[in-house]
């Protein structure tokens, strides 16, 4: 799957057809943890930039293998470099994990609703992430950090399995070193040398430094984690209107046609993936949606 000269001379406006992937070339593959990796991509042909909003996702096509939705994990201010972070767990992501610099991926997007960061102006912002759920929140973190003066306290609460499963390690260290960001990481289990927190991420909420009456919370992770996170946020006094969650479903067309990602009365690809918690809370506890 090396670069084809024909791909480099593409002139077709792929944007006109939302079902047609645009070729992107892998510039760098970085292994964040044992099973999580980040790919940095640049568009080929006439497309020079790729603008997106934090929280949006792309359909990523490994040619000959398949297409899957993956959240964008890069900095929205750097539109010349598209960044995706994912775990190698399925057929497509395992194939992606084997790809190297110079290989080509097909990209359709960006799709979906973004994190409503502009609504958080003047408020404390709390990010709660679990596992690979940190990746869809990272662009929002970049955005908030870039305009830090517009927000009150900025807090990231992140939970994962073990210290070895923490992605974006250097970046988290850099953010932790800043005086205007509060970064807390907790793991489910650790050996004796670990000096950080051990316990589920929801344990961090009760002691996190934010004013619940003036807080916007962005939550991303496994659904069960998001449910318990919202319970803890409610206990602190954050209401449903100020809690946003990112849902994950099996998106196929990504434009609200095929129905694969239908979640009750909404399509996650088109109406989400970012939802105000109050709008979907009843569906989160229902069986067989």
């Amino acid at each position: 799957m090396a670069t084809d000269p024909e791909l480099l001379s593409l002139k077709i406006d792929y944007k006109r057809n939302p079902m047609l992937p645009w070729p992107f070339q892998i510039q760098r593959v970085k292994h964040e943890t044992e099973d999580t990796f980040t790919v940095e991509l640049q568009p080929l042909g006439a497309l020079e930039e790729f603008a997106f909003q934090p929280g949006q996702f792309n359909m990523v096509y490994v040619f000959g293998v398949g297409e899957i939705p993956i959240s964008i994990s890069g900095d929205p201010a750097k539109s010349r470099m598209l960044v995706h972070t994912t775990r190698a767990v399925g057929t497509v992501t395992k194939a992606m994990d084997k790809m190297r610099r110079g290989d080509i991926l097909g990209i359709r997007g960006p799709y979906g609703t973004p994190w409503p960061i502009d609504h958080a102006n003047g408020l404390d912002v709390v990010f709660v992430a679990g596992g690979i759920g940190l990746a869809p929140l990272r662009p929002a973190l970049y955005e908030v950090v870039a305009h830090r003066e517009q927000y009150g306290k900025v807090v990231l609460l992140y939970g994962t399995r073990t210290p070895l499963d923490v992605p974006f390690r250097q970046e988290l260290e850099n953010w932790r070193a800043r005086f205007d960001l509060e970064i807390y990481v907790t793991v489910d289990r650790a050996m004796s040398g670990w000096r950080g927190n051990v316990g589920v991420v929801t344990n961090l909420i009760s002691r996190a430094p934010f004013d619940p009456r003036n807080t916007m919370a962005f939550v991303c992770g496994p659904e069960i984690m998001m449910r318990f996170t919202t319970m803890e946020l409610h206990k602190r006094g954050v209401d449903n209107e100020h809690i946003f969650v990112s849902m994950e479903r099996n998106m196929k067309c990504a434009i609200g046609l095929c129905g694969h990602c239908q979640f009750g009365s909404v399509f996650v690809c088109k109406d989400g993936p970012v939802f105000q918690y109050g709008k979907i809370k009843d569906m989160l506890v229902k069986w067989e949606i």
Partner: protein, 153 residues
């Protein structure tokens, strides 16, 4: 002693406790400082105290034969450490170690246990408060057991 009384009075764990019982609790309290890396309690030892963490960080851990100590949970400022003093056979089931310099108030559980036996109303008051802590820790443990972070792809 006045300092200890004030600190205990402000802690949510003792909120609403009547004056008589609170005075008994204060009488059983002492200040304690544990340096980073030092053990606070060990599995199998007699559990005759419990602790209110004023500052620092404590790991609850379990020694395993092949992997060494595994940290199960960390406790922080404001948390209560230890409830085995209240439940037979009154021995610790886990180890606890100060991860960093930790200041605590140690409460004489053996003394309180005897007072609870004499005054069941007081025993019920304390049990209700510990039941709340136990419930929260159980909820957290259940989530940990679910291994929830592995699901999202």
């Amino acid at each position: 002693m006045e300092d200890l009384k004030n600190i205990l009075a402000e802690h949510p764990f003792f909120k609403g406790l009547n004056e008589e019982y609170f005075a008994l609790v204060v009488g059983c309290a002492t200040n304690l400082r544990v340096d980073a890396g030092k053990m606070i309690l060990r599995e199998g030892e007699d559990a005759n105290q419990f602790y209110l963490i004023r500052s620092g960080k404590v790991s609850i851990q379990l020694m395993t034969p092949n992997k060494g100590p595994i940290i199960i949970q960390t406790l922080h400022e404001g948390d209560i450490l230890g409830w085995s003093w209240l439940v037979p056979p009154f021995t610790w089931h886990f180890d606890a170690k100060a991860i960093e310099l930790t200041r605590m108030i140690a409460l004489d559980g053996k003394c309180l246990r005897m007072k609870c036996e004499d005054d069941h109303d007081m025993g019920y008051e304390l049990l209700k408060r510990f039941a709340d802590i136990m419930t929260k820790r159980l909820e957290s443990t259940r989530l940990q057991l679910l291994d929830i972070y592995g699901d999202r792809s």
